[in-house]
Amino acid sequence: MANLTLVQAINLALAQEMERDDRVVLLGEDVGVNGGVFRVTEGLAQRFGEHRVQNTPLDESGIIGVSIGLAMAGMRPVPEIQFDGFLGPAYDQIVNHAARFRNRTRGAITIPLTIRVPVGGGIHAPELHSDSPEAIYAHSPGLKVVMPSTPRDAKGLLTSAIRDPDPVIFFEPKRVYRAYREEVPEDEYTIPIGKAKVVNEGDDITVITWGASVFQCLEAMDALPEDVSLELIDLRTIDPIDTDTIAASVEKTGRCVVVHEAPVTCGLGAEISSRIQERCFLNLEAPVQRVGGFDTIMPYYKLELDYLPDAQRIGKGIMECLAY
């Protein structure tokens, strides 16, 4: 066991997969000697050589496009897109190419590809450095979307993603890159993609979230009246959604709040609440409540904390749902 931050756990997973499998190559802007702008690839170029930790030209479409080619030809590319907002230029390669090859070639060509992307707000960053676009990619068929919140989950899920035969977008909540440490097994292990985690068991209400919002929800939970028994679920994988874990919980509690940073409209909360009414309609005591970002552009940082769901707003959502 080692006491690691999220950044360190991801770094360790990358190193172990590179050690284990020569086909694993990292590429992206500044991932080489500099170790990435968040230092997630720190030391890897020095250890494995710059040919396996390749600084690329400043071209997100290019980064994903060549990664697709690498994957087709038998490599296991792990490209990094420097910030959530810069997925934009890569969108076409991700959604129209990486996601479609298996299906359009009826399985003849597959794309094992893990796209790492720091995601989310709350770090006082400039514009386009704080977005939460996970729903866009969950909506796009042919992609798996993962967003761990803790070091231990990150290591296990990244290992699974790299070994997965299909394209995975691996979102890293940058707000908690260094905020929390956790005991992480140093040996390699995997956590299955598509499995949510019950962070806290409870009977009165289910709160479903992922990424950095997990910590906001924990804070909200601490501030609730003593007698409220809350079940907190960290989704961990956004696509495919672990509907079974969600349904089992809501069948028990009858109430549910979904929390995410992304705008509420067409956010994952909409999909989750729809699944809940499909699976648990007769168990519901209240409409599923969503607490999310507003349907606005992510504001610059002076107002970002007013935009992001915080413990107070989440707490209010929980109380509203309980009061219904």
């Binding site: 802007e29 500044d30 080489g32 000697v33 500099n34 170790g35 702008v37 600084n55 690329t56 030209p57 400043l58 071209d59 997100e60 479409s61 290019g62 907002g85 810069f86 934009g88 230029p89 006082h124 960053a125 400039p126 514009e127 386009l128 450095h129 709040v257 509420v264 409209t265 909360g269 409409p287 409540q289 969503r290 607490v291 999310g292 507003f294 349907d295 606005t296 552009i297 504001p299 610059y300 940082y301 002076k302 107002l303 970002e304 007013d306 935009y307 769901p309 707003r313 989440i314 209010k316 959502g317 509203e320 749902c321 009061a323 219904y324």
Partner: protein, 379 residues
């Protein structure tokens, strides 16, 4: 002849004022006088000095927690200053990246707007009426297309004496949109100047890793755009190149490409530590090519500058920058409802409801259903 050469290309490099502040008279003189008068050079020097001082203060603001991430312009000032002077204020359009503070200021943006932007405040982008600028561009390499579109509008409306200039880094030339911008500009033949501030680095990626071509300028040739490389730390060369490019664009209607060879003397931004990837020796070589030093030497040689003037400038710069910081920090806090205010010309019902209940509701559920009343928010 079965085999002929169908295309040959070359790129010229222009330097007029060398590192020691010595002017190449043959290149600098036009009609018997230097292309920049002493007054103009002094103006540029002062603008660069004030810009440099602001840059240093901005860095300190970030370090002391009074501002967010900031990208220093240090070392590159001659590009923005001399280009800014060569463009026509009030009719030309400036489409910057984020190391052109001086040009933005010259073309009508109050300096404290730039600080506001980096203080995480969109009001820093609220370009004042009459200033023909787009805001600082954080996304790399996307805005050159916008400049091309602006220039196209000039052409469509047959506005004769107008031109757009767009600035971007060496790294930006790797993005597909950069090539799209040049191809559009070339095929549509519109008056836009592409100005690449080749500062040798894109964060930690050196120019040689970014591109295999020895110059950035040659990329323009493949779009049949005339191109020149200039010493970007030389106000004369930059001024002449941009002035001539502007004449070309306005007269012939097509685009022009300028590569300013310069150097980022600071870290990429305040979030970066350049010592991780580049040597002190490299930095000190370029520190010797500092545009401020050579411009001052030139002026001193011309007896247009002395220690007294320098002293006066430094004091003035301090006062000006002090006022800029005060203006940026003194602005009232943004209203929380401003998150919504500028989403559309007219807000739809959802956005209005979210705005009006953002303090009272967790959103997603009609508060009236559970007996909670939505109150007008007063933030």
């Amino acid at each position: 002849m079965p085999k002929t050469t169908v295309y040959t290309a070359s790129i010229e490099n222009l330097q007029i004022l060398d590192e020691d502040g010595v002017l190449d008279e043959s290149l600098a003189m036009e009609d018997g006088r230097p292309i920049l008068t002493d007054e103009q050079v002094m103006y540029l020097y002062e603008q660069m000095w004030i810009g440099r001082h602001l840059d240093e203060v901005a860095f300190k603001l970030q370090r002391s927690g009074r501002m967010g991430t900031y990208p220093q312009n240090k070392g590159q000032e001659a590009n923005a200053a001399a280009a800014g002077l060569a463009m026509k204020k009030g009719s030309d359009y400036i489409v910057p990246a984020y190391r052109e503070n001086i040009a933005m200021h010259m073309h009508g943006l109050p300096y404290h707007y730039i600080l506001l932007h980096w203080m995480g405040d969109e009001r820093g982008n609220q370009i004042p009426e009459g200033a023909l600028l787009t805001p600082l561009s954080v996304p790399i390499g996307t805005h050159m297309l916008h400049a091309t579109g602006i220039a196209w509008a000039f052409k469509l409306r047959k506005e004769p004496d107008r031109c757009a200039i767009t600035f971007f880094g060496d790294g930006a030339t790797s993005e597909g949109d950069f090539h799209g911008a040049m191809n559009f500009a070339s095929t549509l033949s519109v008056p836009v100047i592409f100005y690449c501030q080749n500062n040798q680095w894109a964060i930690s990626v050196p120019r040689e890793q970014q591109m295999n071509s020895p110059t950035v300028a040659q990329k323009a040739l493949s779009y049949e755009i005339p191109a020149i490389q200039v010493d970007g730390n030389d106000v004369f060369a930059v001024y002449k190149a941009v002035r001539d490019a502007r004449r070309h664009c306005v007269r012939n209607g097509g685009p022009y490409f300028i590569e300013g060879v310069t150097y980022r003397l600071g870290d990429h931004t305040t979030a970066d530590d350049a010592r991780r990837y580049r040597s002190d020796e490299e930095v000190s070589v370029w520190a010797g090519k500092d545009p401020l030093i050579r411009t001052r030497k030139y002026l001193v040689n011309r007896e247009a500058w002395n220690d007294e003037r320098q002293f006066e400038l430094e004091n003035r710069a301090k006062k000006i920058v002090h006022e800029i910081v005060a203006a940026a920090e003194g602005i009232e806090a943004p209203r929380v409802s401003d998150i919504f205010s500028h989403m559309f010309a007219e807000l739809d019902n959802d956005l209005r409801r979210q705005r009006d209940t953002m303090r009272t509701s967790s959103i997603g559920q009609d508060p009236s259903q559970i007996g909670l009343r939505s109150q007008p928010q007063n933030a």
